[in-house]
Subunit: 480 residues, 2 copies
């Protein structure tokens, strides 16, 4: 059997079931591979001579070049014959987008899955899925959605859901997250979560592992894989099907008999994996793991930003989620008041002064507060609301962003405390371009950016708890 | 003393402390009033002859026309003299943006506030603030931020924070929320939360009241005002300063001695006011109150939308927040399977079929599910993720939005169940225009739109609990 490593670097990819112009998944894959300049893409469909400008073949066997990986989107009843072609063509892996197998709950679907597995074993190839979107390996230009970044990064994502597998890289792109490999594995007929965890625990290109799991195939093996993996790298898990309705949906989705939530939670606690409640939180935790340097081992923070009401809200959200915002001593307040305006200001942590958008004020505040004993992180928040948009150029790259990045980097260097940003996006197009430009500059400078204080706080509390439970040796390999 | 009603409809507005080009609040107000075509705006500043193209006066007394309302942004030490001018000019109300009073915690600030109040009483005018952004009354073109909608709506908002007072209308604009009056009242030296609640409980232009409160001036009076108001109209409250850090921030912000959270919570429960935890949740609850018709009295919902993983996530979020997603009977599932595809689908509630973006499929699903006994609402969710953006025009107005709105309106009419939408926005500019166009069409058609299932569920659970506690007469005046 081919190793997973071989499967992630195929020479040729065939897309079976591709049709021109029907906007199907198969057509999307052909489009995306072409767009990514993957060198050898072969649409297969006896009805067409050409798909999106590429020659289309009547069957796998007619393809002239080598085919290592096959993407399949044809009805379930035709797949067994196709698998004979796969064996003849000596492919290494077959990914079934096709659904209508075990997850339908019908006996025929389950029987078909067993027959597929027998053919794969005999033919010497692996099966990914069925009922998933397969592989995304940026460095090898192997993609399954259009407009996917080809720049690799240190995060691996295994997902039982194709939607989440495509959404996570897309939603987290602007936050600077990039991926080594993303594997959507659907019904997990052959390649499953435990094998993938084992692989990524050893993969030198992967430093952080994210997982969306609805149900596991072999509980004992999964527990071993989790324990071994989480001891080496941070593992962030979002368990789908935590509620009754979610469990029903997961069974209908991937035929997963979702395991007991209590057992799953206990396992995660025991092996020190980080559990999250939804995809947004997964992105937040990954952002914290990837960009907060140094990682704090304690929850005490200073909050600074412009706006009284927003400061009250942000303080409540932080403490509500479990970060601590300790009061500043009179001496520290007095030091701040020497160079920051007093009218319209709050000095007691949170710190809010009307000029806290000026780089010099940010610099003073961060240099003073970063040295306060016990404070573990400096949090700067900024809302892209009407007032901040008024006065064109107020938040421009030249006037605000570049000098602010300069003074924040200096503060990190001089105080040894990480700077985190909560940038609240506007709710419409108005101001969105400005927001994205500002976000991009901070992200490219290496800062962790969150979209609200609640999101920031929730993620940091989880990451600090995880880090606090890592061995004192400094925890997992590459962090922090 | 002038009644609040008079204060909301001033003839002339003077802006004291306006300077050209310094991007101050005073300049913003001049700019905004001009932009809104408010008929009589008078900048006042002895240093300038003109501000933003308007004649600028050396003092209030020199203004030729009538001035009913004065916006003040000058240092705290100059305000007493100004109040003499206000009395001489026979104004009705003075709004102090100026900060540096009681909220500084210094004795001088508190003494100054007392002297201001004496002058206001003697001069026969009211004070709004200090330390706030004052009034926004769209129908009278009285604005305090640029680009504010002039279209009025049934929601009043009273806010101790100027930031929140400006942000709520801005952030909720795309969701279709419009306001009768927004009052930012800061330190509440004169006009305070209780008087405002009393006023809005009687205001015929206001059907729903939202409030951001850090602390109350007179607990007994506030309790009476809350009880009387909440008996007549829904009151949505966000209490700032629920945590230690939030309390410190609130004291630094508006000198509010925030009341005990436990007492505040008990009061809200007793009078049946709806408490929310942040500004996003306030917008969600207002959206539900404003646009969900009929309002359900029970939490049972059907969830429909395209995507397996997203359906699992959405189900978990719904039940986690307290909405119920009851399983569908085999008979109902069989009925759905007659016209919806089985492969790649989930039929058990949630309902997820690959074609659930097609108006005919939406129509079938809603007509069948809206008649299932016990089901109170129909929830449709859609993510603007890569797949949905692929296939240009897939979510276009002509192909999707207009026909979908048609079939959803028909479903509401025929089944008597409300349709709610969870539209997940993209995270960047890519797809944002399309998202906003789709959102706008649904909002203009009168549908409630939420940005995630968690947000939708949390808001609906709060609104259903509120509605369930209203008298059987049908509850507050104008709802549902």
């Amino acid at each position: 059997m081919p190793a997973l490593e071989e499967i992630f670097s195929p020479r040729g990819v065939a897309v079976v079931g591709a049709s021109p112009g029907n906007l199907s998944f198969a057509e999307l894959v052909v489009y995306a591979l072409k767009e990514a300049k993957f060198p050898a893409v072969f649409p297969v469909n006896p009805k067409y001579k050409e798909v999106l400008g590429l020659p289309c073949y009547a069957s796998l066997r007619e393809i002239p070049g080598a085919v290592d990986h096959v993407v399949v989107s044809i009805p379930a009843e035709s797949v067994l014959k196709l698998l004979d072609d796969c064996a003849a063509k000596r492919v290494k892996s077959v990914h079934f987008f096709t659904a209508g197998f075990g997850e339908t709950g019908e006996v025929q679907g389950e029987e078909l899955e067993r027959a597929m597995l027998v053919k794969a074993k005999a033919g010497g190839f692996r099966i990914i899925g069925p009922n998933c979107v397969g592989l995304y390996v940026p460095k090898n230009r192997l993609v399954n959605s259009f407009n996917s970044p080809l720049e690799p990064g240190p995060i691996a994502f295994i997902s039982q859901s194709g939607g989440h597998a495509q959404n996570l890289p897309d939603f987290s792109r602007a936050r600077g997250l990039r991926f080594s490999k993303v594997v959507s594995y659907g019904n997990a007929l052959d390649v499953n979560e435990s094998e993938l965890l084992d692989y990524f625990s050893r993969d030198p290109e992967t430093e952080i592992i994210a997982a969306y799991i609805e149900g596991v195939k072999d509980g004992q093996r999964f527990m071993r894989a989790m324990a071994e993996t989480a001891a080496q790298k941070p593992v962030v898990i979002y368990k789908g099907g935590r509620t009754e309705a979610g469990r029903r949906a997961a069974y209908g989705h991937t035929a997963s008999m979702t395991s007991s939530v209590a057992i799953f939670d206990a396992l995660c606690r025991q092996v020190n994996a980080i559990q999250v409640d939804d995809l947004d939180e997964m992105i937040d935790v990954l952002t914290a793991l990837r960009f907060v340097r140094p990682l704090p081992r304690d929850t005490r923070a200073v909050l600074m930003g412009a706006g009284g009401g927003p400061s009250v809200l942000a303080s409540d959200e932080m403490e509500d989620e479990g970060l601590r915002v300790p009061p500043l001593s009179p001496a520290v307040q007095a030091e701040l008041k020497q160079s920051l305006p007093v009218a319209g200001s709050i000095f007691i942590n949170p710190l809010d002064t009307p000029n806290l958008i000026a780089p010099e004020a940010i610099s003073t505040a961060m240099q003073v507060l970063g040295r306060v004993p016990g404070i573990q992180m400096l949090i700067y928040h900024l809302g892209f609301h009407p007032i901040s948009r008024w006065g064109l150029g107020r938040l421009s790259l030249e006037n605000f962003v570049k000098p602010a990045i300069g003074v924040m980097k200096e503060a990190v260097r001089k105080t040894g405390k990480p700077v985190l940003l909560a940038l609240r996006p506007p709710q419409g197009l108005d101001g969105m371009t400005e927001f994205l430009v500002v976000q991009q500059a901070f992200v490219e400078a290496g800062f962790p950016v969150f979209y609200s204080m609640r999101h920031l706080a929730r993620a940091m509390v989880r990451v600090i708890a995880w880090y606090g439970s890592c061995p004192d040796s400094g925890g997992p390999v590459s962090l922090p």
